[in-house]
Amino acid sequence: MANYIKNMWDGVYTVLVGMKITWKHMFMKKVTVQYPDEMYPIPKNARNRLQLYADQCNGCNSCARICPVNCISIETLRVTPNDPENPKVLEDPENDHWLPRKLWVTKYDIDMAKCCYCSLCTTVCPSAAIQHTTDFEYSSYFKEDLLYHFTAMTPETVVSKKQMLEEHQAKEKAAKAAAAAKAAEEQAKAAATASAN
Amino acid sequence: MQTEKIFDTLTKKFGNDVTPILEAAPSEPFILVKADKIYDVCLFLRDNSELDFDYMMCLTGVHQKPDLGVVYHLYSIKHKHKIVLKTFVSIDAPNVPTVERIWRSADWHEREAWDMYGINFEGHHNLIRILCPYDWEGFPLRKDYVTPEEYHGMRVPY
């Protein structure tokens, strides 16, 4: 019987205690952040959308290699040594220090639909070219829109650069072949003279 | 109890069926047990009051070419000592006696090892796939596993 009454008392009492707490909370400061109007503060180092600073990228491919989900795909093209444009890569953005570019980055695609925001790519990048931004509002209706193309080169320039490189390589090859032929010729000549002697 | 002493106790009891292998740190020393003796060894390990391995930390299937293996990590809560057992079986007849009746935790571990490596735990009451779908073919964690192209009309590699 004592248990019976205690049960009843406990039931009523604990309910009242709970009700007091919820009542108190009715008048407390609310914590809701009204999202599109006000924003929850995002720290500067937050990992959100990836951004490539194409000027700084030298096309070393280490970000694509470290990415655990293979969301970065890079294609590069060797810069022709006597390229009239004389391309440069921004080595030190603070001091505006540029170095001659060795590789054209013809394709630098990041599939943000695949990205797992692990920030491994940003740490391995030797020139801090790829970085996380604080922009997280980039949802889109189509998956294709999440494939970001970061290179500034148009397909035409890529083709022309490729052509230039091929020409250069052909020229080099021809020069090499010519040199080799010349060398062979000389060798033959030398051999001939030697045998004649 | 020291690892060496545990090894001594075991070799005394089981003779040639167990082979202690001491490895340099940080790898833990382990005992190689013949596959068909694993149940007896485990039962002894659990029920001997000096050893008293009452807690099975982990049961892992491994594929160290060419053999499949099972690694048992045991722990004694009372004596605070650990031991690693290993057993290897040929990939053609991967039969290992179940230790499910010794440690109930082995139940799901063994199902997982069956699921991933196809190690057949003899005497397990319900040896079915646990993580893969029930009708999955092949044993994914074997080193020679080839990912199928399709599963029920769905492309597997995305």
């Binding site: 709970g18 009700m19 919820t22 909370h25 009715m26 407390m28 609310k30 914590v31 | -």
Partner: protein, 350 residues
């Protein structure tokens, strides 16, 4: 019938009767919207949230938006459901709830149907809602729905008895089953309400614990009858997904929802009527009383009780089904008998 304001105004013709019939319906729909908003907002405030803020100023149009959303949804009938019963069940539930409104005295002058068996009638028709629940649960051909329906029946049947005992005690105090009559008896200020033992000499303090107890019992039982937390096991979402209305969507779900809120109103109205003096002013019949004030007091009292229900809902966890039965049969029922006995005794003495 003389007290009904519409018949006084429009005469005893069909227009008056239509008005009498339609007015509560419109009122109930409006009430349901307000109650849903209250539920959303109160729950939000209790949980340190703001609640809906986007639809209209402070989100006051949120319930309307939800109704529109529900109306737009596709009307789905599961293939293996019993079509007739499945489609009928939500309306059954609402009908039961709505029929009970017929005898609620909104104000001294406006009682849709001032019958002498008011309390009895309410008990009779509010059981129809149970049939709707069972119909829906069974016809859905879903195991969760079936479990929910079975639970609901067990629950409502067990809790009707303590609720009836509580109500009967006030019928004894008022010597009437007519709800308007019960209200009239509680005339003369807050201390003449039945929660304070009704009109009587000073030594009615001895009966106060029992009337308080009965009020509490009725409160608990009414929560159970309306399937609200902590007694929402027929639709306990953590175990039965949504209980008897798992398979319902769109308009039919809206009917269930409406039925639930109307039921809330009914039990609150009964509570206000029989324990808190209904349309009586708390300051006696001379101050702030009259037909319009009566309506105001009635609605204020109902609103308070509804708020109380919402408050409890967002405070308490849910009971288990056997504990629910325990509470109903082992605690509420004996207690309600004791209180009823005490009140009957007191009534005999004075």
């Amino acid at each position: 019938m003389e007290t009904n304001i519409f018949i006084q105004l429009l005469g005893n013709n069909w227009i008056a009767y239509t008005a009498i019939a339609v007015l509560p319906l419109g009122f109930l729909l409006l009430y349901a919207l307000v109650a849903i908003l209250a539920e959303l907002k109160v729950s939000a405030w209790m949980q340190d949230r703001l609640g809906p803020m986007r639809t209209g100023p402070w989100g006051i149009l949120q319930p309307l938006a939800e109704v529109v959303k529900l109306l737009q949804k596709e009307d789905i009938t599961p293939d293996l459901a019993n079509k007739v019963l499945y489609n009928l069940a939500p309306y059954m539930m609402f009908t039961g709830a709505y029929a009970a409104v017929a005898v609620i005295p909104f104000s001294q002058q406006f009682v849709p149907s001032n019958i002498n068996l008011g309390l009895f009638y309410i008990f009779a028709v509010s059981a129809i809602a149970t049939i709707g629940v069972v119909m829906g649960g069974w016809a859905s051909n879903n195991k969760y729905s079936l479990l929910g329906a079975m639970r609901s029946v067990a629950q409502i049947i067990s809790y009707e008895i303590p609720a009836a005992m509580a109500i009967l005690a006030t019928a004894v105090l008022a010597s009437s089953l007519n709800l308007n009559e019960i209200n009239t008896v509680q005339d003369g200020g807050i201390f003449n309400w039945f929660i304070f033992g009704g009109p009587g000499p000073w030594f009615k303090v001895f009966v106060l614990p029992f009337t308080f107890g009965l009020c509490l019992i009725y409160m608990i039982a009414s929560l159970a009858e309306t399937n609200r937390t902590p007694f929402d096991i027929p639709e306990g979402e953590s175990e039965l997904v949504a209980g008897y209305h798992t398979e319902y969507g769109g308009m039919k779900f809206a009917m269930f929802f409406l039925g639930e809120y109307v039921n809330m109103f009914i039990v609150s109205a009964i509570m206000a009527t029989i324990f808190f003096g209904g349309w009586q002013s708390p300051f006696g019949s001379s101050i702030m009383s009259g037909p319009v004030w009566g309506l105001f007091w009635f609605l204020a009292k109902v609103g308070t009780v509804v708020f109380f229900q919402i408050w409890l809902r967002w405070t308490l966890p849910r009971l288990r089904v056997d504990q629910l039965m325990d509470l109903g049969w082992k605690y509420l029922l004996p207690m309600s008998f004791i209180c009823f006995f005490a009140i009957a005794l007191w009534k005999m003495l004075i």
